[in-house]
Amino acid sequence: MRIQDLESASDENLVASFVRSGDRDALEVLLRRHESSVFGLAYRMLGGSRADALDATQEVFLTVFRKASSFHHQSAFKTWLYRLTVNTCHDFGRKRARTPSPMADGPEPPERPADVETRLSVEAALQQLLPGQRAVVVMRDLYGMSYGEIAASTGVPVGTVKSRIARARMRLAELLTVPEEREP
């Protein structure tokens, strides 16, 4: 496949092209398409650490490329990719006995001052969720994934996703003081 074809090819066809002929351009397109979402998800799952999120992103894509031949299209590539991301982040969480320090290792992007307090609170509260809860609620509320997509990406039944999201939101409600509820 040539560049123009690669850009318009589906993820699954890119993987197939790479497996079939070792097409590095196909890999690059896959990386370009998905690196941001993988990094963003990893960032949220790993306590807002840029360094950890970058390491996890690197490992996810290396795993993708190493295991490309074992991707058999039973699911969408994106689902497989998110599943690798979730698993990698869980592994990181287990391996790195570290206290999350949100925003400790990277510059803050520009933001509206009024959001700062709430946002920091939400991020801190997210890190207090169980990893499984954090993953599903971030996938749902930040990345807009359906329950079915989340189930496929996390490897748990839809019913479990449903209950985890609810428990995550209830836990966040306990941890956060939401501005509208602060005011009578």
Binding site: L31, G40, D55, S70, D115, D141, L142, R167, E180
Partner: protein, 319 residues
């Protein structure tokens, strides 16, 4: 109204993940239940709070570093042992550069005592191994081996489609040199640079007799090698991959190699379309399939589990 909605149902309702009938039931309940409506607002606020978080983006430098780490260095199979955190990548690279300078200086001042890949001549007790760092290097090394690139015109063992050539063993050093003078081998030879051309010829003969290849290979006369790399282990590894492979694979060679300093079997197969059973003819083998596997994985795994642990895998047209 005593039967309040549970949070899971309300949460799913907010996410529009309920069936139509249940959704109607929930809406009717919420319309008349202050408690459940309050919980709905709370859950909705939490969803909105998370949703307002920014989707963190990589900086341009981080994009470049990631691309370099993924695409610039180790190619498709970069590996579970070589994962270097990006934040430390350049620091380590700098350190390795210093070490490299020192090593190069040391080697340059010494008289040559070890064969290089190009010089490979006599068997060595500690053969020089191909030490790959990228998929490009692997494919180039495999493609440039005379058994792959230059032997087909010398007589194809199977009379198939120009695929009678075999790789010799020994990581491209001693075994390779010996093979240059040997008859076109038709069977996979196994690892260890000390393997001889005689051994190669014998194995070749056994596989040439059985066009299908694999079984003859497995039972071929194999040399005993080192503890990590031995001909027997290489043969076993080849057979395991052949049996688990996604297509019919015809073993060519198991070569002792290293990948980023780590011992690895370089397994080379010819591949092509399936052969009709028992017709005595092999279909064209116009592709090469290359796997790199850690010796310990070859010993401990088989089937898909082994393939999943491959350090490297690629398929490309046979030169």
């Amino acid at each position: 109204m005593n039967d309040h909605l549970d949070a899971t149902t309300i949460s799913a309702y907010l996410d529009e993940e309920l069936q139509a009938a249940e959704r109607v039931r929930v809406e009717e309940h919420l319309a008349g239940c202050a408690r459940c409506s309050s919980q709905r607002r709370s859950l909705q606020a939490m969803a909105a709070a998370v949703g307002q978080l920014p989707r963190e983006e990589m900086t341009a430098d981080e994009h470049r570093a990631l691309r370099q780490a993924i695409l610039g260095a180790p190619s498709p199979s970069a590996s579970r042992w070589s994962l270097l955190p990006l934040q430390r990548w350049w620091a380590l690279a700098g350190g390795l550069g210093l070490v490299l300078i020192a090593v190069v200086g040391f080697v340059a001042l010494r008289p040559p005592s070890h064969p290089t890949l190009d010089q490979a001549a006599a068997p060595e007790s500690a053969p020089q191994l191909l030490d790959f760092t990228s998929g490009d290097e692997i494919e180039a090394a495999v493609a440039s081996l005379p058994e792959v690139s230059g032997r087909t015109s010398g007589g194809s063992a199977g009379g198939d489609g120009g695929d009678g050539s075999r790789l010799s063993e020994g990581g491209g050093d001693a075994g390779e040199a010996a093979e240059r003078g040997a008859p076109p081998p038709a069977a996979p030879l196994t690892a260890q640079g000390s393997s001889s051309a005689d051994e190669g010829a014998g194995t070749a003969g056994s596989a040439a007799g059985g066009a299908a290849g694999g079984e003859a290979y497995a039972e071929g006369p194999l040399d005993a090698g080192g503890s990590t790399f031995s001909s027997k282990n290489g043969a076993v590894c080849l057979d395991k991959v052949r049996e688990a492979g996604p297509a019919r694979l015809e073993p060519l060679a198991a070569k002792e190699a290293r990948f980023r300093g780590r011992p690895a079997w370089l397994l080379v197969f010819a591949s092509g379309p399936e052969a009709p059973p028992n017709d005595g003819q092999r279909p064209p083998r116009d592709r090469l399939e290359v796997w790199l596997l850690a010796p310990e994985d070859c010993r401990g795994y088989s089937g898909a589990g082994l393939l999943d642990r491959a350090l490297y895998h690629s398929t490309f047209d046979r030169p």
